[in-house]
Every structure is written in structure tokens, then in C-alpha cells.
């Protein structure tokens, strides 16, 4: 399990190589990269600044990873999140899950990003031509996270 919070960009290929290297039980790797867009519901933006809660962020991300490992038979996971000032096209977040078979890797990857969006203490400040604006949490992100349930007993069915 790997959790990193950093300002620097990342190399997805290198990161995936690190979490698969030498582990020949891994039959599938699934990953997701989130990018900064230049259009948001409130209009065009020039940049975005991500703030986070050092200490709690790492703990929250580790908890999300642990939950994924409890729910699926995973070989390794990675959550990497950037903070600071980012521009359209920049990578913000990278999550990955590896497993013997694809179903667990796909589902766990989806779960990691859905839960991260509603649990990890990050906040986005958009820099638009009309000034700074804090992004509001979206109901659809809560809905996406809810589909995975909230308690460790609500395990999804693997079919």
C-alpha cells in the first residue's frame, strides 16, 4: 500500500512499475488519473489551487486503501494526490489497484477514487477571470461513494 501527497508531477508508468515489480501473482492492473479541466460548471478557469490537511490527509488515504484491501483480494494499491497550484491539463490524482484477476482491480480502482473524493480532506480553489472560487462538494460524488456502502460489512458482490 502506497500513499503519497506531493506538489510535484508524477510519472504514471514509473509508479505502476513500482507497485507491480517482482510480484508475479499480479494478473491485472487498473488505474485512474484525474486531470485539471479548463471548463467548470461556473465557467472557464486559469488555474486551480489544492489545499489539504497535512496529517489527516495521509491517514484518510491509508484508511481508504485498507478498506479496499479488506473488500477485494488485492496485491497492491497506490494513491497519489497533488496539492498546490495546478493548471489545466495537469495531473491531480492517480490511483491504482493490482490483483490476480481483473474484476477486483477494476472495482477496487473505482472504489478508491469514489471514496477519496468524499473522504480525503482536499479543497479546490478555482482561479477564474472573475476571481477565486471554492469548489462546492457535489451531490453526485456522494451518490457515487454511496454505491460502495459505508460499513465494512457492506461488501460488494464480486461476480
Amino acid at each position: 500500500m502506497v500513499v503519497r501527497v506531493q506538489t510535484a508531477p508524477f510519472d504514471a508508468g514509473k509508479e505502476l512499475a513500482l507497485i507491480t515489480e517482482g510480484n508475479f501473482n499480479i494478473g491485472g492492473v487498473c488505474s485512474f488519473i484525474g486531470l485539471v479541466r479548463d471548463i467548470t460548471p461556473s465557467g472557464k478557469i486559469n488555474a486551480m489551487t489544492l489545499e489539504h490537511y497535512p496529517g489527516m490527509t495521509e491517514k484518510a488515504l491509508q484508511k481508504i486503501e485498507c478498506e479496499a484491501h479488506d473488500r477485494w483480494p488485492l496485491e497492491s494499491t497506490l494513491i497519489l494526490h497533488r496539492y498546490g497550484k495546478l493548471y489545466p491539463g495537469d495531473q491531480i490524482v492517480f490511483v491504482a489497484a493490482t490483483s490476480s484477476h481483473r474484476h477486483a482491480a477494476f472495482e477496487a480502482c473505482h472504489f478508491l477514487i469514489d471514496w477519496l473524493k468524499t473522504q480525503a480532506p482536499f479543497w479546490k480553489l478555482e482561479d477564474s477571470p472573475s476571481g477565486g472560487r471554492w469548489v462546492e462538494a457535489r451531490a453526485r460524488d456522494d451518490k457515487a461513494a454511496e454505491r460502495w456502502g459505508h460499513g465494512p460489512n457492506q461488501k460488494p458482490n464480486l461476480t
Binding site: 484525474g34 489544492l50 489545499e51 489539504h52 490537511y53 496529517g55 489527516m56 491517514k59 494526490h81 491531480i92 490524482v93 477514487i113 477519496l116 473524493k117 468524499t118 473522504q119 480525503a120 480532506p121 482536499f122 479543497w123 479546490k124 480553489l125 471554492w134 469548489v135 462546492e136 462538494a137 460524488d141
Partner: protein, 83 residues
């Protein structure tokens, strides 16, 4: 008690952290918010809508009835928007 403020809560209150001498009667998160709200206009505005503020006690999500103690770290922030 160490108090931390993030995002627009930080902007409204005008600082990112403070060590506060919280009075004895403050025993949970709800009490703490009520006490802070009475400390000045900045606080009152930051906590005007309690439903829009999230709270963490010692870096764990908390509710209004979560107990708070002298040496706790309590953070206030808007709903999260990472990812």
C-alpha cells in the same frame, strides 16, 4: 485546544490555526462551535450555517456530539472536493 481552519473557513476566520483556551463547559463539537461563534463576527459568519462545516477531532471525522478535550486538535473545514 489546537484549532485548525481550512479553505473558506480559514478565509472567513482570518487564520489557519490557533491555540484556544476553551472554557470548562465546552464538552463536545457542538458546544465548541457555539462558543467559537460568540467570539466575534468572523467566527459567527464562518459557523453561520453549521450544516456546511465539517469537523475532525484528532484527524478523524467528528459529529456535533463528539467529545472534545483540552489537548485535542480540532479542525473545521467545508465538505471536501479533492480527486
Amino acid at each position: 485546544m489546537r484549532l485548525l481552519y481550512f479553505a473558506w473557513v480559514r478565509e472567513k476566520i482570518g487564520m489557519s490555526r490557533e491555540d484556544a483556551n476553551v472554557p470548562d463547559g465546552v464538552s463536545n463539537v457542538g458546544d465548541l462551535i457555539d462558543w467559537l461563534s460568540g467570539r466575534g463576527r468572523e467566527y459567527e459568519e464562518a459557523f453561520a450555517n453549521k450544516a456546511s462545516v465539517r469537523v475532525a477531532v484528532n484527524q478523524e471525522y467528528a459529529k456535533m456530539d463528539t467529545p472534545v478535550k483540552l489537548n485535542d486538535e480540532v479542525a473545521f473545514f467545508p465538505p471536501v472536493t479533492g480527486g
